[in-house]
């Protein structure tokens, strides 16, 4: 899996790259508009992460030009502007997703995974992690070929865990993922616990191993064997 990251802020660039390299992606970098556009046009990537405000140009123009050349690369916009107009423009131009800064790396990771899953439509339609099988198109979860009936939030939670498997995900990033970025519901962390307990119970009932570890103080980790 190859990802092109076009981001001019060096610190953020470094951190995103580091996180995604750990995730097993091949990372290409560009820190301005011209290099970014050049690389995006000349090489094939599974996903391009592009910032809107770039030196020497606007990230949205990269999206526009890629789409004009009928590129099939998935594009995720990362922007400091959490503006609905920008978001609508970006999606209209053909970007696949839009993530406003400051975002969680776990969230970015799960968006990339979701995007790549959607892109590889013809390929494998299910995600298999040890005993658990997920068919994202139908939102179906199976343990040892037996379907587990989950609520929407439980399903989202499981998928988020699996997208970030073997990673520590904080309670806050889970809350943001489940209730949205702008949610001012501070007490929602208690509800994560409730959903998590139900999810564990349902998986265990079908004979699944408990993959979800509690990490003291911070959050959880979905521990799977590679």
């Amino acid at each position: 899996m190859k990802i092109l990251l076009i981001e001019d802020e060096p610190e953020l660039h470094k951190l995103i790259k580091q996180y995604l390299v750990q995730e097993g992606y091949l990372m290409e970098s560009a820190s301005d508009f011209i290099t970014g556009l050049e690389k995006a046009k000349n090489y094939d990537y599974d996903c391009i992460l592009v910032d809107i405000t770039l030196p020497k140009g606007n990230g949205l123009d990269i999206v526009r030009q890629l789409k004009e050349s009928r590129s099939k690369t998935g594009i995720i916009i990362i922007s400091a502007k959490d503006s609905s107009d920008d978001k609508i423009t970006a999606l209209d131009l053909g970007a696949d997703d839009y993530l406003a800064k400051p975002f969680n790396l776990a969230e970015l990771n799960s968006r990339i995974k979701a995007l790549i899953r959607r892109r590889n439509f013809e390929g494998n339609k299910s995600i298999i992690v040890n005993q658990i099988t997920i068919i994202p198109d139908e939102r179906i979860v199976k343990v040892k070929n037996e379907q587990v009936v989950l609520t929407a939030k439980e399903y989202d939670l499981l998928l988020f865990f699996i997208s970030n498997k073997n990673r520590v995900v904080s309670k806050y990033s889970i809350a943001e993922h489940l209730w949205g970025n702008d949610s001012d519901q501070m007490d929602s962390h208690d509800f994560i616990y409730v959903h998590l307990r139900n999810l564990r119970k349902k998986l265990a009932r079908k004979g699944s191993v408990d993959y979800i570890q509690t990490i003291y103080g911070i959050g959880y980790k979905f521990k799977a064997n590679e």
Binding site: E9, L12, L15, D82, D85, V168, S170, D184
Partner: protein, 419 residues
Amino acid sequence: MKLITKTIFYYLLISMPLLLIAAFFSYHLIRIEVRDGTDETLLKEKSNAENLIKLNPKNDPVYLSADSISKITVVNQHKTGSLFSDSLIYDKVEKQDLNYRILRSYYRSNNQTYLITIAKPTFEEDELTEGLLSAFALIIVFLVLGFFVVNWVLSKTIWKPFYKTLEELNSYDIRKHENHSFKSATTVEFNQLSAALNKMTEKIHSDYLQQKEFTENASHEMQTPLAVVKATVSLMMQSPNLKEEEMDQLQTIENSLRKLSLLNKTLILLTKIENNQFQNNEIINLKETVTKIINNYSDLVGAKKIQLEINFESDPKIEMNPMLADILITNLFQNAIRHNKMGGIVSISIKDKTMSISNSGEPLTIDEKDLYIRFKKNDASKDSLGLGLSIVKSITDNYGYTISNNHHDSLHTFKIDFI
């Protein structure tokens, strides 16, 4: 009181004592003039009487008038000179005492002394007073009438630009500064006023723009460093050798970071609402939107064992930006859950174009009108930013909807009229 009314009122007030003084002097002047006139007549008649004596000396009294007051008599004294006097004499015709001016004059002719007495009825003092008073009363009436006429005419003409300026000032809205200017007038003072107001609003507006821009830019500039810290924390969490203490610290950083980014986003949102940057209005089905939000937060409702009462009597369509409609209702709903007690009630009703959200809970500890002020929190211990209701208020203000709240029967209710 209007300025012009006040001015003219003071003019009137000051003209009263002036008129009284004028009346006093007029009274005395008239009296002196009338007396001088009478005295001249008396002197003239006296010389007539002297001629009469010269031509036709007699020893018997000669009556010069029908009432026998003016007469020529012979006296046995050797006297000269004349003397004017006033005296009341009973008048048989008018049956009352009348004021007479009397001239007594001694005249010697042919070794005889004659006393010439000439009397003329003169004016009545109370009649003069009466006359003068009525004259001055009339003057006052005219002054008052004139005052109203002048008042009316002036406010219709001279003061017109002033009232126009006042009206413009009242309707001034800093967000619509561009299509607003204070018109110049032909009166120098009003022209100066308009110019000063134009200059002032111009300055206020540019300060306002600068401040607005600053808030927006500052908030945007903050997003990238926040993203860097957030990403760093995420990476640090992956370290396998963290001690419990370090995990606690990371948790503290992440929590504060989350609040900070939420705060930042909310401030950007508020600025955008106030800048009127949400233009794309759509027809919103209020019932649908409310239902969607209730479903999205059903787990929060369930966890707090809150009893939800829903009562949709109508199905209003409102024209709003869909994102703002979501934010508005979400904030009110979250507010109703957050400030609720375990096992409490949230009741949502829609009737005509009015939506009410009530929740059970303690009465407010802060003043009701402070509820919508940024960062004012009813309960400081609650983990909230204190911006939710400010957002609600700024959205309703933006669309001109009215929001009201009240607390009774231990239910706190927010009501929005989407009109």
